[in-house]
């Protein structure tokens, strides 16, 4: 690669005549304001439940909501990258399960050291992402197909590898503390991990080439390619990064359950994708925010929690969640102005 000079070294033969542009307001500030306001839907939902139930605003319950958000939330972080490219990742749910199972194999069956096992789990996630990425970019499969296939393969392999039995970590000292311990007193590590992961994801999305190219590819893949970005290679990188989050979700899940449950996972992908989309990320690609994803995941978990705490019958909960999602997203769109 030639080193690009940041300042173009061409010189014009004379200063171009200045032309008046007429700015009416500053766009930058507006964006910042938006990011703050993005909480609005969540805040309204929170406020509502706080009034509706005296138990809702208890720290124990809030902790419960956060804990319930953690696993899906981490998956949703990864999914955000794929969705930013205009793709979709259906393999996050069962992929997460496979990572749990493999962590179990490393730690419980093979007795590897904790760190190695955890890194192994992450590596399996990265591998899943890598394969997705290769299928999408080099075989040019539609992401839906590539990740649907991976979703099935991961589900099958989880069962095969575990012998359709849970793998327990009871013998692996300290593994459950990964999620249940409280490095920050009062805050379970699983939640801490989620927040740290969110910060890393946020920086990766907005400040690294991986994130930038993900957004560019989602915005206009052809233009990005013609601009000299090796789109295929970067897609592989992006899917691999997404896979890492899947791996992390798998490890956290395993730690929380202190076991790897091979039958779990199906359906989590929809929850994760829903969190991303509720957060304002467009499935068409090009627009994505990690903060949005975190809020989206929190909205989903808060809704479920709040309706349960109000003892709404199960069958009505679904109806209510559906309607609230429509309202929340619609309100959010109104707030952002009719870009749609």
């Amino acid at each position: 690669m030639t080193t690009p000079s940041t300042t173009p070294s061409t010189t014009t033969t004379g200063p171009a005549p200045k032309r008046a542009t007429r700015p009416i307001n500053r766009v930058g500030n507006r964006q910042q304001l938006q990011q703050v306001l993005a909480f609005a839907g969540l805040v309204v939902i929170f406020a509502f439940f706080s009034f509706a139930s005296p138990y809702f605003l208890d720290w124990a319950n809030v902790k419960g909501i956060l804990l319930a958000t953690a696993v899906t939330g981490i998956m949703a972080l990864g999914a955000t990258f794929v969705i930013a490219t205009g793709g979709i990742d259906l393999s996050v749910g069962t992929g997460m399960t496979l990572c749990s199972v493999m962590t179990g194999v490393f730690l419980a069956n093979l007795g590897l050291p904790l760190v190695v096992g955890v890194l192994g789990g992450l590596a399996i996630g990265a591998l899943i992402g890598l394969l997705n990425g290769l299928n999408v970019s080099y075989l040019r499969l539609p992401p839906f197909i590539a990740t649907l296939a991976m979703m099935m393969v991961a589900q099958g392999l989880s069962l095969v590898i575990s012998g359709t039995k849970p793998i327990y970590f009871s013998e692996v000292g300290g593994f459950d503390q990964l999620a249940a311990g409280e490095l920050v007193p009062g805050l379970p590590n699983a939640v801490l991990i989620f927040f740290v992961a969110a910060v890393i994801a946020g920086v990766t999305l907005s400040k690294t080439l991986t994130g930038r190219y993900a957004l560019s590819i989602g915005s206009n893949e052809e233009a990005t390619a013609i601009s000299g970005v090796d789109v295929r290679r970067w897609k592989v990188v992006i899917y691999t990064v997404a896979g890492l989050f899947t791996g992390l979700a798998g490890v956290v899940m395993a730690s929380r359950l202190n076991s790897a449950q091979p039958g779990l996972g199906l359906g989590y992908e929809l929850e994760a994708i829903a969190a991303v989309v509720i957060g304002g990320t467009s499935l068409r690609g090009g627009k994505a925010t990690i903060l949005g994803t975190v809020i989206g995941a929190l909205i989903m978990a808060t809704l479920t929690n709040g309706l349960r705490i109000m003892s709404i019958p199960q069958e009505w909960q679904k109806v209510a969640v559906g309607i609230v999602i429509v309202l929340a997203v619609y309100a959010d769109m109104l707030r952002r102005g009719k870009e749609a």
Partner: protein
Amino acid sequence: MSDPALLRATGISKSFPGVLALDDVHLDLRPGEVLALVGENGAGKSTLLKLLSGIYRPDAGTMELDGAPMSPAGPRQANELGISVIHQEFHLMPDLTVAQNIFIGREPRRTGLIRDDELVRRATALFGRLGIPLDPRQPVSHLSVAGQQMVEIAKALSFDARVLIMDEPTAALTETEVATLFRIVRDFVSPRTGVIYVSHRMDEIKEISDRITVLRDGRYVDTLPTASTETRDVIAAMVGRQLETGVRPDPAAASDATGREVVLAVRGLSTRKLLKDVSFELHRGEILGFAGLMGAGRTEVARAIIGADRSTGVVEVRGKPVTVRNPADAVRHGIGYLSEDRKRYGLLLDQDVVRNVMLSSLPGMTRAGFVRDGDGRRAATEMVDRLSIRTPSVTQTARNLSGGNQQKVVLAKWLVRDCDVLIVDEPTRGIDVGAKDEIYGLLTSLAAQGKSIIVISSELPEVLRLADRIVVMCEGRVTGTLAGVDANQHDIMELATRFGADRSLVKTGDPA
């Protein structure tokens, strides 16, 4: 001059977040005339036309058709009123066929079922009448930009329109198609019809229009009779000062680059679809022009070189054969390509100017793996200045820029990337006269600094003005190379129409 205008707009204002695009503008179109609408990039021309065609609603002002007030609620209603528009940006459905595109919303049906055969028949008849050589059954995604432009033209003329509005219809066309278009326009104009014609090409305006309305910075400046107005005065009205344009630099000043190092050599480049054995050399500091008719294969050559399409043949960079599998490889070898299709291959429409300008240069704008947005913002600000990009701020979304300013953003991206070899395909498409001159100056000075540039252009004056040597193509083959100094339009057209014995394309217009 008090006869009722065919179409009149008075006191029109329109603002967008951050921009006052139109401020108390008027315009009147008389029956039987071609009214040219001119102004710099971002002056508000397209916005005005979108108001007339019902896409936007004015903030203030009135519009009249035949003396009766009108306010079209949408494009469809405008069509029904007899206003037919060719927009600057294409509005085509790439997956549908040409015929389906033209008659969208007006499909002939029998017992509820669409009659595609009838659709094709009508399209064929329309093309026959207009003299446009297109296959109505072809999906639009298979067409080049020029082809798409012809579809838009055909579509606009398929309505029973009284007012035909054309927003830079020739930006993507070569002279032959321009001639076809002008014939179509002349055929269209009758005592009950009129045409509003937007273009940055002054010679075209001179040729086709009766009067010229000038906008500057969102405001109405003047309306001038074409016949009695000098082009330089029109330009002066546009930019607000006198400007020397279209002047070819002193031939003596153009140094002979052919003796210098060959930075890019292409040998025997062929593609399955079109190119046959294309070979040429590009020297250090040279501007090499590529001329040819629509579909001659100039764009294909560029795409093949940068690895965007598959091809056979050898590409050598500084004497060494290189494998270029994709545009990323090309950039790695110092070859950048600015596409003729800015919407499809140039812009991230939903992202801001900074991100667009940074795109090709991102790896160089990082420290320890993190993107330094400050660098991007600085580069973008500098480019906005240097190329006079009219935008409220560098954080404006590319989609909201005017066509010409979008083109400048794409150009800025490549200027920031600073490649040794820059292939620019229709670089001044949609760019106004003043800015065009600045860009010519820019390209020339780049070459003077030792960069090598390939200019593909359908505007022969542009090629003639810029190029040290001119490669002329026809039907995927190189039919000749001319030295810039002694080339003229006639020689180029001669070569550009040197078809193989098997096929011939009847010339419709006289290449001016």
